[in-house]
């Protein structure tokens, strides 16, 4: 299980390098807000924590964690889209 996880981490790391290397410097700010929103997928761990409600302590921490991550998801996607909408070319866009 742990070895499987390490394999996934390594492969995803390499994919990340290859994909992100190709992102134009023009879009580095939206890239950062987008990866931030994607990273907030940590919300799934927090949701399970709240949903299972094993102890009050874990549920309380979970609620705060879900709220924090959700603010990143909503805010991150929103601002990334707002930024990307502003990038316009002076040439007609290619089909």
């Amino acid at each position: 299980m742990l070895i499987n996880s390490l394999f996934i981490f390594m492969l995803a790391g390499f994919i990340g390098f290859e994909v992100i290397k190709r992102v134009s410097p023009l879009l580095h700010t939206p890239l950062m807000s987008l990866t931030n929103a994607l990273d907030a997928i940590a919300v799934v761990g927090a949701i399970v924590l709240v949903g299972e409600h094993k102890t009050t302590f874990s549920a309380v921490l979970g609620v705060i964690a879900v709220a924090a991550a959700t603010s990143n998801i909503v805010g991150g996607f929103l601002i990334t889209d707002r930024m990307l909408k502003m990038f316009k070319s002076s040439r007609p866009t290619k089909p």
Binding site: G45, H53, I79
Partner: protein, 463 residues
């Protein structure tokens, strides 16, 4: 039982689809024409993943999940609607929120599992907590500096690095102890608390000009801590998302530190401030030429090729919309106007591009440093607005300069250089800029926004 195993498989398949969508999302960010599709892919993946998680077996409480999701949405909407000039501090805040989530989940997991935590799990859990906690306070500090709630100047004292590294070493030591004694619940709060303090101390000596590197580094830490959390809770999706975010932040930090010719360690442990007094002292005996807005407008209107070099000063003065008016006026006169963007211009990677795009300047007019540097000798006017160190020719020639070796925009090779600046006081890093004393340089003293709007006025009346 059969039913349970079935729903577990469905969840895994949903996570698999979500992972693919996340990778596609970043893939489509490579160009502005497909980037918005990338956001949609990310959003769909996120909704699928959250929906799948709600199917998770053993869930007893949905009310508080719903409440937390609503609270998060209410906080998130204003964070998504901030002004474009506030994007760097917003980004720092969101790093803090992500790190907070990871730290809290890690803390809860520890108390649920202790003392029954296998060594490997405890190791990644410690990494999750240490990285998460230092990213949380570090990002809050960075946001405070960017919002200018905290002083932007680096604050340094003797033995600072020793103290900081000492804190980090203690935290790592506690982690090792916990790996060996996972039942030591009384030690755990210190492993959370000490990195929280370290995060604050780490950012204290960082100056505003180093923010692009630091924000990228914090981005990377946030991603790595999320990946570590993926190991702990056994979520492949989280490992993938964390690894993508971690490598993105890492690549950006490498680009940023290369653009400043500095190493990570130098950014984190070698504050710029100390060199200021010696370098600034010899400025007085040199003369500069200055010009009025009317003269500047005349020179610009007579030019064929103009390159504008924006910097953080343009953002502070909120001058980007006036710059766009100047761009329109000059373009109408047949002048070829382009913008030269240094990788570390502004306070985060890509900061200037976003501000200029907000002002409706077409992105194909925005040039990267390597694209435009060869064109400066054929450029009639280089107009520097609120940028300083990234145009300093001493970086090429003066070995004693603290920024020697840093790649710069070669504005000094343009036929005429015009620099809009408030006064002759040295820039943030306190380094004198020989560019200002060249014969071909004209200083335009004033606030960037009002000076550019005067130029626009004169351009309008001169035809």
């Amino acid at each position: 039982m059969n039913n349970l195993a079935g729903s577990q498989t469905i969840i895994e398949i949903i996570y698999l689809i979500a992972s693919a969508l996340f990778i596609l999302s970043l893939r489509w960010m490579s160009s502005p024409s497909t980037a918005r599709r990338g956001v949609w892919a990310g959003e769909i993946g996120m909704v699928l993943a959250i929906g799948g998680t709600l199917l998770h077996e053993g869930m007893v409480d949905y009310t508080w999940i719903a409440i937390a999701l609503v609270i998060g949405t209410i906080i998130g909407i204003p964070l998504g609607m901030v002004q474009m000039t506030a994007v760097p501090q917003r980004t720092a805040l969101s790093h803090a929120a992500g790190a907070l989530c990871v730290t809290l989940v890690g803390t809860a997991e520890f108390y649920l599992r202790s003392p029954d935590v296998p060594p490997f799990t405890m190791s990644v859990l410690s990494m999750e907590i240490i990285l998460g906690a230092l990213t949380f306070t570090g990002s809050l500090m960075a946001a405070g500096k960017l919002q200018e709630v905290l002083p932007q100047r680096p604050i340094t004292y003797k033995g600072q690095n020793f103290v900081n590294l000492g804190f980090l070493a203690i935290a790592v030591g506690l982690a090792v102890y916990l790996v060996m004694h996972p039942g030591a619940k009384q030690v755990f709060p210190f492993m959370v608390g000490i990195p929280l303090v370290f995060g604050v101390l780490m950012i204290i000596p960082i100056g505003g000009a180093d923010m692009p590197t630091v924000i990228s580094l914090l981005n990377s830490y946030a991603g790595l801590s999320a990946a570590a959390m993926g190991f702990v809770v056994g979520s492949k999706l989280l490992i993938i998302a964390g690894a993508l975010d971690g490598s993105s932040g890492f690549i950006l930090s490498v680009i940023m530190s290369k653009a400043m010719n500095r190493s990570f360690t130098n950014v984190l442990f070698g504050a710029f401030g100390q060199v200021a007094p010696a370098a600034a002292g010899k400025a007085e005996d040199k003369t500069v030429r200055s010009a009025t807005a009317e003269e500047a407008a005349g020179i610009l209107a007579a030019a064929n090729k103009v390159v504008v070099v924006p910097g953080y000063g343009m953002a502070v003065a909120q001058a980007q919309h006036k710059v766009r008016e100047m761009f329109d006026a000059l373009t109408k006169k047949g002048v070829d106007v382009r913008f030269a963007i240094h990788p570390v211009a502004g306070r985060m990677p890509g900061h200037m591009n976003v501000l200029l795009a907000e002002a409706d300047i077409p992105y194909d007019r925005l040039m990267e440093m390597d694209e435009i540097n060869g064109d400066f000798p054929q450029t009639d006017v280089a107009l520097v607005i609120g940028a300083n160190d990234v145009t300093n020719p001493a970086a090429r020639t003066d070995q004693s300069s603290p920024i020697f070796g840093m790649p710069i925009l070669d504005v000094d090779k343009a036929r005429t250089v015009m620099v809009i600046k408030r006064s002759m006081s040295p820039g943030f890093a306190g380094i004198d800029n020989p560019l200002y004393y060249l014969d071909r340089t004209l200083m335009l003293f004033g606030d960037a926004k009002s000076f550019v709007s005067e130029i626009v006025k004169d351009l309008g009346s001169s035809h």
